[in-house]
Amino acid sequence: MSSPVVTLEQPRVSLCGGSALLLEAEGPLALPTQMGIWNLTDEIRAWPGVLDLQPGMNNLLVVLDPLEGDAEAISARILARWAEIPRERALGRLIEVGVVYGGEGGMDLMELCEKVNLSPTEVVALHSAPEYVIFAPGVSPGFGYLFGLDQRLFCPRRKEPVLRPAGGTVMIGGAQCNLGAPRRPGGPVANPTGWYVIGRAQDVPVPFDLAMDPPNRVSLGDRIRFRVERIEA
């Protein structure tokens, strides 16, 4: 059966510019694969010619020095290490957040229900059942991309981004879901997104604080569980 999501049979490294590479892992989105990605990230950090690294969803962006980084040689080295890197690692702490699904804070719940052909009660039950794992950093410092979404809730991103209020948003996009950080004082009131906002979390912990060293207060591998506060029409 064909999947709506890209699945590779073999891992591959592709160019992400003249001086950046993207390793994409083989197989369906999986936790052991991601543990390998995290382990490889730690290892590659020390390689010469590598400036920065960013794990994605079963993939890894490797930013090279534009003058010194040899894309061809480093590609080969990444693939060789990927074949051997251990795919196990301890997970982090559990964070539990209460969510009000639907209503004003989850304005896209009904639209998502239509897309996936389920009732609001069913969507909320499926969404709040698993323990999600913070897989990869998101577009801004926060809780990142979460793994564990029930595939019955997979829903392609919108064709055109829409503006959605910032702060504690619980969203679904493609085969992924996430949790928005609390709105930063003075920060944007709304953000453009192609994802569906199905709820709003109450009392979200601050995930990133520059007054702390290191500033991240959640880490890749930490777990998140959504507790249903209520469902609003």
């Binding site: 999501v5 160019l15 992400c16 003249g18 960013q54 996009g173």
Partner: protein, 331 residues
């Protein structure tokens, strides 16, 4: 200090950008025309990572509270120091009390102002760049406004041998223009490396990527440029992608088929298919492309990208060396 007398919105302190914090979801930020800022620092003998001011809306009026050396680079913003017109890519002494005014450029988009010693705002996560969306870095994590007092870093007291200052060839003059067969003189040509999903696009789309002009739309800013072309870029079989890290220069293609070039303040991650990536060495050209300008894409490889990077480094090295002869210790 530099006092901001007047600043249109969107002007901010930038350096070459932030590296090493992608694991937190923090992208590069930094100057849109990094070459212009690097050139300003080279003219002044500053460290390459010194911060300057990026001006993208005008006017920008600054007053120096101390004697310093100032450089203006990037788009020719008709900079005037106490009314006296400075040529583009120019460095000269500024006296305490003098005012520098930048006006809208007739060609290009962004002007840069640097001073000897650099703008000495705190380094946050390895950089002085403004991360405006996340509200940190630069001057108090925000755009400049009138009344701001920007500290200047320590620098040896220097002036120029010629009181009128000295200039440099702009990179448009000094660097070779990427060759593109039927490009018109006003087109900006950019070298692009085919990216991960290039092969997923149908043959007419792949041909159109290289063959047709792409117009910069008004929906273009520091986050990214939305382009418009006659032939939309379509994939043979659209698949939902997994989110992955994104660097400035990535050319994403949303379902509309009209591409977006992700830039300095772009999302650090995303999931639209990427057909190609503008090489780092050509991103400064994008930073100076105003809405309405036509872009042309030219195929490139990592080896050619490194060669282009070496050409940039050569230009900056020459600038730095020559400028060293044109400055002298202040009396």
């Amino acid at each position: 200090m530099i006092e901001v007398i007047e600043s249109a919105p969107l002007n901010a302190v930038q350096d070459l950008g932030r590296l090493g914090f992608r694991c937190f979801g923090i992208g590069r930020s930094g100057a849109m025309d990094r070459l212009a800022l690097a050139a300003a620092n080279a003219l002044l003998g500053n460290a390459p990572d010194a911060a300057g001011i990026e001006a993208q809306l005008f006017p920008l009026v600054l007053r120096f509270t101390t004697d310093t050396l100032v450089a203006v680079t990037g788009a020719d913003c008709g900079a005037r120091l106490d009314g006296r017109l400075l040529p583009p890519f120019w460095a000269m002494p500024a006296k305490a009390g003098q005012e520098l005014e930048l006006s809208p450029p007739t060609d290009g988009l962004r002007g840069y102002v640097a001073v000897a010693g650099g703008i000495d705002v705190p380094v946050v996560l390895g950089s002085r760049s403004s991360a405006l969306r996340d509200g940190f870095g630069g001057f108090q994590g925000r755009m400049l406004q009138s009344g701001d007092l920007l500290p200047i870093g320590p620098a040896p007291a220097r002036t120029t041998r010629d009181a009128a200052g000295f200039g440099a060839a702009s990179p448009w003059q000094a660097l070779s223009r990427p060759a593109c067969g039927d490009a018109e003189p006003g087109d900006i040509t950019l070298r692009v490396v085919p990216a991960g999903e290039y092969e997923q696009f149908d043959e007419p789309s792949r041909a159109a990527l290289w063959a047709q002009p792409w117009v910069v739309t008004t929906q273009s800013n520091r986050q990214g440029y939305r382009l418009q072309g006659d032939h939309a870029l379509l994939r043979v079989r659209p698949l939902e992608m997994r989110s992955h890290g994104i660097v400035p220069g990535v050319v994403q293609v949303p379902p509309s088929g009209q591409p977006i070039i992700q830039l300095s303040d772009g999302n650090s991650a995303g999931g639209y298919p990427k057909i190609g990536v503008v090489i780092d060495a050509d991103l400064w050209r994008v930073g100076q492309a105003a809405p309405g300008r036509r872009l042309r894409f030219v195929p490139c490889t990592p080896a050619l990208a490194r060669e282009a990077e070496r050409e940039l480094a050569g230009y900056l090295g020459t600038l730095r060396r020559q400028a060293g002869y044109l400055r002298r210790a202040a009396a």
